[in-house]
């Protein structure tokens, strides 16, 4: 029983990331009809927003420490962050420690701009082209973006820790009456799950309860008619692209402490996120979220030692296996709408 609870918990944070990326993918597909293979790259750029903001906070000047030697025997050059000069070392350290949560504020405008530039600069030229063209161009864009990141940040993962207050793990086992240490879960992953739930809720509320959201939903249902009413639906869809980019970026920012960001992390999530979108149902926002959590949890279960002993390799194929079963039984996915990608 404790092992089952444990794997459900494990699946939640992985599912959170899948759900956030798949939500953005679905928003873009539902509004603009574009299959965006560069969406994983937006997740990766979000994580690198956290890295960049962290570097801004630790931007330093060099002080020579005559009492210590470097590896060549010369006086040691010590990097002192400028933030120490501004706020003192204790406050400076506290701000640096909170770099990841603070970088949310930095990443939102950056990601909105990246999304806007991507849509206006490249993707809008492919609206009327076949999906295969869209996939090729966005996949190419993803490779270009990751190579740019690699050029500036290197190929090695860059540690981007969570605030010290979130270090360690919470003992759910003791809380639920199991033996201590049987169900532990890192604090930051709990934060990530809560953050994902908040973002997903905010996106749904925005679409459901604002005039802007209402127009966008109407445009997703019947773009032509909304256009005939004199509403500039293209402009709203462009804004939605920016919002989808920001959602992916925020998912990346908060994921940075879970796995050290590297240039390839977007690709690691991209394929699985597409499976999530297809399983959830193309164009269905609730479907994307539901499938994200469902597949995240299933993936965790498939990684259990007892499962792997019985069915070796299941962890590598479980998501695709479930996708096949769902698509055979429900060809439009869990919550897919009739008519989407069926013309």
């Amino acid at each position: 029983m404790d092992a089952i609870v444990l794997q459900i918990l494990n699946g939640l944070d992985k599912g959170s990331a899948y759900a956030l990326i798949a939500l953005g993918l679905t928003l873009i597909f539902g509004t603009l009809g574009v299959v965006n293979f560069a969406h994983g790259a937006l997740f990766m750029i979000g994580a690198f927003c956290a890295v960049t903001f962290s570097r801004i906070l630790t931007w330093s000047h060099t002080v020579i420490d005559e009492t210590k030697k470097d590896f060549l025997g010369n006086p040691l050059k010590v990097e002192v962050p400028h933030i120490y000069d501004l706020f003192g070392q204790a406050t400076g350290d506290a701000i640096i420690d909170w770099a990841v949560p603070l970088s949310i504020l930095f990443s939102i405008p950056v990601m909105l701009f990246v999304g806007y530039a991507m849509e206006r600069g490249l993707i809008k030229h492919f609206y009327k082209r076949p999906h295969a063209d869209q996939i090729l161009v966005t996949f190419g864009l993803a490779i270009v973006l990751q190579e740019i990141i690699k050029y500036y940040y290197g190929a090695n993962p860059i540690p981007t820790p969570a605030p010290a207050v979130f270090a360690g793990s919470f003992d759910f086992g003791a809380l639920l009456g199991f033996d201590p240490n049987t169900i532990i879960y890192p604090y930051w992953r709990l934060v990530y799950f809560a953050f994902a739930a908040l973002i997903i809720g905010a996106v749904f509320a925005f679409l459901q309860f604002t005039t802007f959201g209402m127009v966008v939903r109407a445009g997703m249902a019947d773009r032509e008619t909304v256009g005939l009413l004199g509403i500039n639906i293209d402009k709203r869809f462009t804004i939605m692209f920016g919002i989808a980019a920001a959602v992916a970026g925020l998912a990346g920012v908060m994921y940075a402490p879970i796995n050290s960001p590297n240039y390839h992390m977007g690709m690691d999530f991209l394929v699985l996120s597409f499976v999530v979108v297809v399983v959830g149902g193309m164009g269905s926002l609730p479907g994307a979220v539901l499938a994200g959590f469902l597949l995240g949890i299933l993936e965790s279960f498939a990684s259990m030692a007892i499962v792997l002993d019985t069915l070796p390799g299941l962890n590598q194929i479980i998501i695709y296996l479930v996708a096949i079963i769902i698509l055979l039984t429900r060809p439009r996915g869990l919550m897919g709408r009739k008519g989407v990608m069926e013309d």
Binding site: N10, I258, M265
Partner: protein, 448 residues
């Protein structure tokens, strides 16, 4: 009316087959005037540096390339001479190799066996490389080593830690300066016993590929021999990025030590995840829970950040060694590039110099002459103390370093500290050791 059986398609097919047939005998064979593959005829000799310039190990590859460039500079008489000043063999004069100026070409392995073979093949066939060296993966090393054997050039391996490189996949034309999985296990076990005792339960997470298997086997057999029990060993996919679902059940298993047989990005992520789960703060079986990383590199330690603090592992070489050879290399490399060299840089630099020295001592670039010069070659002054290139399997035998993540690093390069220099005798094994079983060294191939 006359008819013909010739068709356009038929003519094309026949021409292509005939062309391939004519070209086939010239692939990987020296020209009739040469005594061996790519015999240097002019005033220069070309070496092929096959390193990961793209992909996940690109940073490690960049350090390898820096080291090779430094080696070429020193071989050609530039710079301060580096390790040529401390090397016990004095055959190298700083006038190239056998009087020929050293030039080089580079290839990108991408850390993929097929790409690495293609780039090595191109350097041999198109650029006339007489030796191929470099790489950051055992899969790549085994693949390129086999290609070099087939082509008739020498292969001086870069970073490859799997037992198989000089075990079941050993080749007469290939040599390895790096240590291997067996040596890691043999060096680590006594230190782990001293630090954590003999009554421990270990849980292994192992990367699901060749290197992972040999490392798991080596560490398991070494730790079990000193009394540890292995409670479970779980294979993790090489493409895995989030290890939470593998780490979460560790505490439930009753294990009090987690061994991460992971390298590169796998190691960075699994260690980060394990620390996030608070494993190191836990008490199991009345003991502190511990994590072990059998193979460390500085670049990996950098990626894992503060999570490496206090965690034991092994490494081939470290810039903080105080022998004359290590100091000379750190000085040369540090003054040229502004930071201390990694173990990848050291291994590759040494490989280039050892090849050059073997050519000088053999008086030829002929691979068979070089093999003869390197087999059983004992030397000193290149870091890690006295070193032997064993004739039976072309594995290098030297001291191995047990390191741990430093608690208070002074810079981004000062991440590991040496805990013990394990003497070579302790990590030496018989050529027919079960972990190295299978495969034949064969005979050298000059390619002619």
């Amino acid at each position: 009316m006359s008819t013909s059986n010739f068709t356009r398609r038929g003519v094309l097919k026949t021409s292509a087959l005939a062309g391939a047939g004519v070209a086939l005998p010239t692939i990987f064979t020296a020209s009739s005037a040469a005594a061996y593959m790519n015999e240097p005829k002019g005033s220069t000799v070309t070496l092929g540096f096959n390193v990961p310039q793209s992909g996940p190990y690109a940073d490690e590859g960049a350090d390898e390339l820096r080291a090779y460039e430094l080696a070429v500079e020193h071989l050609n008489g530039g710079g301060d001479g580096g390790l040529m000043n401390t090397f016990s063999s004095k055959a190298l004069k700083g006038n190239g190799i056998l009087g020929k100026k050293v030039e080089y070409v580079t290839g990108d392995t991408q850390t993929k066996s097929d790409a690495a073979r293609a780039s090595a093949k191109s350097m041999i066939e198109k650029d006339g490389a007489v030796m191929i060296t470099g790489g950051s993966s055992s899969g790549v090393a085994v693949a390129v080593q086999a290609l070099c054997q087939e082509a008739g050039v020498i292969f001086m391996a870069g970073l490859t830690h799997s037992n198989d490189t000089t075990g079941k996949d050993k080749k007469a034309n290939g040599f390895r300066h790096f240590f291997n999985s067996y040596m890691s296990g043999a060096a680590l076990a006594p230190v782990l016993q001293k630090m954590y005792g003999s009554d421990r339960k270990a849980y292994h997470l192992t990367a699901d590929y060749n290197w992972g298997y040999t490392t798991e086997e080596a560490v398991k057999s070494s730790t079990e021999a000193m009394g540890w029990e292995t409670v479970n060993a779980v294979k993790t996919p090489l493409t895995q990025t989030d290890f939470s679902s593998y780490i979460a059940p560790v505490l439930q298993s009753g294990a009090d030590v987690l061994v991460l047989n992971h390298y590169g990005g796998n190691m960075v992520n699994s260690l980060t995840n394990a620390v996030q789960f608070g494993l190191r703060d836990k008490q199991v079986n009345g003991k502190n829970f511990e994590i072990v990383v059998p193979l460390y590199s500085r670049l990996m330690a950098k990626g894992a950040g503060a999570n490496v603090k206090g965690i034991f592992g092994s490494t081939n070489w470290h810039w903080s060694l105080t022998d004359e050879g290590s100091k000379a290399f750190v000085k040369s490399f540090g003054e040229k590039y502004g930071f201390p060299p990694s173990q990848a840089a050291h291994t590759c630099y040494v490989q280039a110099l050892l090849y050059a020295d073997a050519c000088e001592r053999a008086g030829t670039f002929n691979p068979c002459g070089v093999v003869e010069a390197l087999e059983g070659f004992e030397f000193d002054g290149m870091g890690n103390g006295k070193t032997l290139y064993r004739a039976e399997d072309h594995q290098c035998f030297k001291d191995v370093l047990v390191v741990k993540g430093k608690e208070n690093p002074t810079s981004e390069f000062d991440l590991l500290e040496i805990v013990e220099v394990t003497p070579v005798e302790q990590v030496t094994y018989a050529p027919d050791h079960p972990q190295m079983a299978g495969g034949e060294l064969g005979t050298c191939n000059p390619g002619a």
